[in-house]
Structures are given as C-alpha cells and as structure tokens.
Symmetry: C2
Subunit: 222 residues, 2 copies
C-alpha cells in the first residue's frame, strides 16, 4: 500500500519506518522537497521510502497520516492540497501543543473544539480519524513495550473509516483489537487531545514517555 505522511518529526519517521518494514511504500512530506531530516530517513529506511513536498506525499498516499504539530497542521494540509486529500482516510496524530509560553506547553485549542475537528471542517471530503496522539511514537508502533493492557483511541465521523483505521492499527502496529477504543464521532477528539495535559505532567515528572492510558473496567472489545 502507498502511505503518505505529512510531517518529518519523530512521530512521522517512526511510523514511516515501521510501515516500510511491513512492506508498504511510504513518502514523507515536508515543506520543501529536499528536507534534510526526510533525506536522512530515506537513506536509512530502504528502497520503499521516499520524500517529497506535503502535496507530493498527499498525492502519493492511499492512506495519510498528519504528523505535524497541531498549531501548524491546517497550514501544512493547505499546502498538501484539498484535491490530494479528498476521499482519503487521514489519520490525525497531531496535538495542539503551544510552546510559546514556555514549558510545559498549553493547548492552543480544547474543551469546545479540537485540531481534528478543525481539519475535518476545513477538508470535508477527507475522512479524518483521530488516533495515536496519546502516546509516545515508539509505543504507537510497538505497544507491547509497555506490559499489561493499555489503549489507543479512535474517533471520526465516518464509521467505515474508523473501522478501517482500527484494522490498520492491528495489521501495521500489532494493536490488539480489544485495546482499540472506538469513541464515535470526531468531537471525541477534544477529550483525547485534552489527555495531553496529564500526559505531559507524567512525562516531565517521571522522566519517561514509556507509559500509556488504559481505561479499566470496560469489557474487552467494547
């Protein structure tokens, strides 16, 4: 499968590398076609890896990931181009982290709106599914690194797209199906983006990102 990743940070490169090892063709998209981080990634990730602009990656992918920072996501996706995004599933991994007031970051949007909703409103022909934004990149692609049950959330307006993403999470990253919690429509993105406040507190306080949220008490697969 051809997968386009918008953004060349740790999240985008980690997802891309895993997808390449699973036999997929992955293009990393950035502002410029010769982005240095993307070039370094391409050089190590093998022949199924490539790089391009945001628009190149969006046009290339049959499935897409948004791995840009939440505060610049709309801008990056504008550059990717409405037509290149149309009719595709876009997995939104972004978080609205605002570092402009120092550490820890606050959220640039929350409570009554979310980045995922902003993206869905701006690109109505795209099936936006929020997922994977609540845990560190290494765990996204290898959940077994944290023992015991822990969860990944999925939400979006299109039920078929949510099911598709849940299937990919299992197929690509080995997420056990009962640990993928379907939260329904895209407004649930508010809640999962707002988890970042506690996530950051734990990350800074404990000095590790190797933890994840689990909802105890929900019946498996529910």
């Amino acid at each position: 499968m051809r997968i386009g990743i918008i953004g060349t940070g740790t999240v985008g490169r980690t997802l891309g590398s895993k997808l390449v090892t699973r036999g997929h063709e992955v293009m990393l998209g950035s502002r410029t076609r010769d982005n240095a981080k993307a070039a370094e990634w391409v050089a190590t990730a093998g022949e199924r890896a490539s790089q391009g602009t945001f628009a190149d990656a969006a046009a290339f992918g049959e499935a897409l990931f948004n791995c840009t920072g939440g505060m610049v996501s709309l801008q990056a996706l504008e550059a990717a181009g409405d037509d290149n995004l149309a009719g595709k599933v876009l997995i939104d991994v972004s978080n609205p982290l605002d570092f402009s007031h120092g550490m820890p970051p606050t959220l640039s949007v929350c409570n009554t709106d979310s980045i995922a909703e902003q993206i869905q409103r701006r690109f109505p022909r795209t099936h936006v599914v929020k997922s994977l934004n609540t845990l560190t990149a290494a765990l996204m692609v290898e959940p077994a690194r944290v023992p015991g049950p822990h969860d990944v959330f999925v939400c979006g307006n299109d039920e078929g797209a949510r099911r598709q993403v849940a299937g990919w999470l299992t197929e690509w990253f080995d997420w056990p199906r009962p640990r993928i919690l379907d939260l329904g429509d895209i407004t649930a993105a508010r809640g999962v983006e707002m988890l970042l406040s506690l996530w950051l507190r734990l990350y800074i306080g404990r000095g590790t990102a190797m933890f994840n949220f689990h909802i105890a008490g929900l019946s498996a697969g529910a």
Copy 2:
C-alpha cells in the same frame, strides 16, 4: 476523626456514608441547615452522621472535602468561611462541569487554570489537595469494584498534605498505595480535571460509569 463535607450530592453522601462506617464523625454541609437530602442521609447513616450549613461543616471537620459542583465551589467555600477552612486539608473532588450549553457539559475552566487552583489562590491558608474527581462516587470508596489496576491522582502544593491524603485514601477507601499517583503541585489539577472530557464521552457512549483511568507502564508506587 471529625470530617466535614461541603456539598450534599451523590459524591458527598457516598463519601460520608463510607466514612461513617469506618467510625468517623461526618457532617454534611449545605446552603441551609435543614437541607432535605442531607436530612435523609443523616436519618439513614446513623448516629455519627450530622448536617449543618457550609460553615458548620467546615468548622466541624478536622479534614474537609469539597463535593460541590466546580462552578459553585468558590461560592460555597466563601460561605464556609475563610477561618473555618484555614490550616486544614481540603480534598477537592469537584469538576468544572458547565451544563448551561446542554449535554455533554463542557469545562468552565481548563488548560491554563483549574478549579483547584482557584480555590487554593482564594484560600491560601488551606491545604488544597485535588483527588478523586476522575471516577464515579461508588468507585471512589470501593475501588475493587473495577478489577485490575486503576489509579487515583493526588496533587497539591503541600507535600505533607498530599502524603496525608494518600494515607487517608488507603485507610478510608482501601486504595492500594501503588495505585495512588502523586502528581506534585496543584497546577496538575488542570490535567486531571481535563480528563473529564474523555470520561464523559465514555460514560455517555458506554452507558456505565464503572470504569477508571490507569496509567500503564509506570513502576508501582512511583
């Protein structure tokens, strides 16, 4: 021990009933001395249970709980009286739920502030410790009703007060010590109050409140 509970809703009455069965004297405080819900509770909870005004309950308690709705907490605590609250540990169980725009409620404050911080700023002589606000009342006092590990959070500016509350959670409500996560100072209340957005989504979507958050991957007792 004498415990004052500010608020007569399900949370206050559930905590009060459990504390009475553990041998403590509990006064439920409300706006008026003859509040009907408090009177009904007193009639069933036994001779160690009593009721009074917010000020009566605050004066009575050696330890205090704030179990009012977050949007009216400051007002209730004003009525309780600065001197009655001074020098005491106040466990803040409130959430800033704003129902004025319909269901689900949004948060009246979040991201850069929290109810717990507002209370601590207004009552600097009181040791405010945020806890127990992230789970349903029945689970607060009987965590074993949800199987497997799941967590309760504690934060506040006074380390001794946080340790005291952690001890009470174990002694009064059987919280295992490794399942009590100390998040540090009171600004962490932002993160735990913001969990309510996802909590509400799960509660409404699944039709049950018998679930709780767990942070997987943190070493026990850390």
